[in-house]
């Protein structure tokens, strides 16, 4: 074991054997925003074997206040988060095999990616994706760690199939629309506190120290000095459709998915085609220029100004429509050009 991990192996619950376990593990990170940046950096520095990181978005100036992997240069280049994260993470630790995907974490995409994965970390900003992660976790018996934050408030809970209740067990009281950074803003320390909780549980899972896991649902408010730890043993529901006696994994069904999503914190709608595509972005950019629109392009995306909206098109056929929260209007703009 190299000197690089000496301070971590000196920590008795990890030790040399724990470090070897960490090195042999594959983590799937869903999201490369604030939680994704911090969790990914932490695990890459800790020396995991493989990291797969998935994100659908690109970097904007308003991300820099808390998304620790990104720079002003990344904003200027409008880089996708996954691409910029991959570059930065490889510079931090070249021993880790890092695979970054610029894609939406749909149930199909998750099914494609879970083979050989030891742990899934939730760094998404919406409950639709979390419920899909939750079903995938139960179907393939892979632990996952829920984390979320808004304003000065944050929460985390580790879901271990066969041991703990799952997110769907809590859904009776946890609806699909939680408070988002759209309404509450967010401060950096709240992000870091969630990362600290997710990251420590992740290390425990990776070194297989199951007895050390926190089994409670933790929540805190750093501004108001509140900290709560909720015991979850009574939350498990034997009739749960995700983790109960007769699971159907409802959130993996096509009917439970939307093709348009309002993105957290912005006046933006994502439109996703029913089937993944392989667009020729250069051709798309030329076509839009020929139509008289103002177009900016890089190898990952094409950005087009359409009246008061801006459409950013990715190679997999997805588009972000900025300047609207109206799903129908967004779908209409998308279909006008890519339908």
């Amino acid at each position: 074991m190299s000197e690089r991990y000496s301070r971590q192996t000196l920590f008795p619950p990890i030790g040399k054997s724990g470090q070897e376990k960490i090195r042999s593990k594959h983590v799937l990170m869903i999201g490369a925003g604030a939680l994704g940046s911090g969790n990914a950096e932490l695990l890459v520095r800790a020396g995991i074997g493989r990291l797969t990181i998935v994100d659908r978005d690109y970097i904007e100036a308003s991300n820099l206040q808390r998304q620790q992997l990104y720079t002003e240069e990344d904003v200027a280049q409008k880089l996708p988060k996954a691409a910029a994260a991959e570059k930065r993470l490889k510079a931090i630790n070249s021993d880790v095999e890092i695979r970054a995907l610029i894609a939406d974490a749909t149930p199909e995409k998750l099914e494609e990616l879970v083979d050989g994965v030891d742990l899934i970390i939730d760094a998404t900003d919406n409950f639709e994706t979390r419920m899909a992660i939750n079903d995938i976790s139960q179907k393939y018996q892979i632990p996952w760690i829920y984390g979320a934050c808004v304003a000065s408030f944050g929460m985390s809970f580790s879901i271990i199939p066969g041991k703990t209740p799952c997110l769907n067990c809590l859904l009776k009281t946890m609806p699909l629309q939680g408070m988002t950074c759209d309404t509450g803003g967010i401060i950096g320390p709240a992000v870091q506190m969630v990362i600290a909780h997710q990251g420590s549980e992740a290390l425990k899972i990776l070194v297989e120290d199951w007895d050390a896991l926190r089994t409670s649902f933790v929540s805190f408010d750093l501004w108001r000095n509140q900290y709560a730890s909720m015991k979850m043993s009574k939350a498990k529901d034997s009739g749960c459709l995700s983790c109960g006696e007769n699971p159907t994994y409802p959130y993996l069904d096509a009917e439970n998915r939307t093709k348009t999503t309002v993105l957290c914190g912005r006046d933006t709608v994502q439109v996703r085609p029913p089937k993944q595509q392989q667009l020729n972005l250069q051709e798309t950019a030329e076509k839009m220029r020929d139509l008289g629109y103002q177009v900016k392009a890089n190898p990952y995306l094409v950005s087009v100004e359409i009246d008061e909206n801006r459409m950013v098109i990715f190679q997999d056929g997805r588009a972000l429509i900025h300047g609207t929260k109206d799903l129908a209007q967004a779908r209409s703009i998308y279909q006008r050009f890519l339908g």
Partner: protein, 77 residues
Amino acid sequence: MNKLLFFAHLRDEAGHESVEIDAAGKTVAELKRMVAEKYGVQKLDSSMTAINEEFASNEEVIKEGDTIAFIPPVSGG
């Protein structure tokens, strides 16, 4: 008496961090309705509830002396 704790934005809506109320014998669902009316809290339906730091369903009945915390789920990340 029972102590109610409001987390995150619920504290702003309620105007208090905690209140004392007599809720013994009520279910969690009944208490949520009562608190929503009395303190003008909007989103209690979507909040998780802990009784004495343990997750509680809407059907659970509150006992004298229980401390009840309302924790709203968030989705930012």
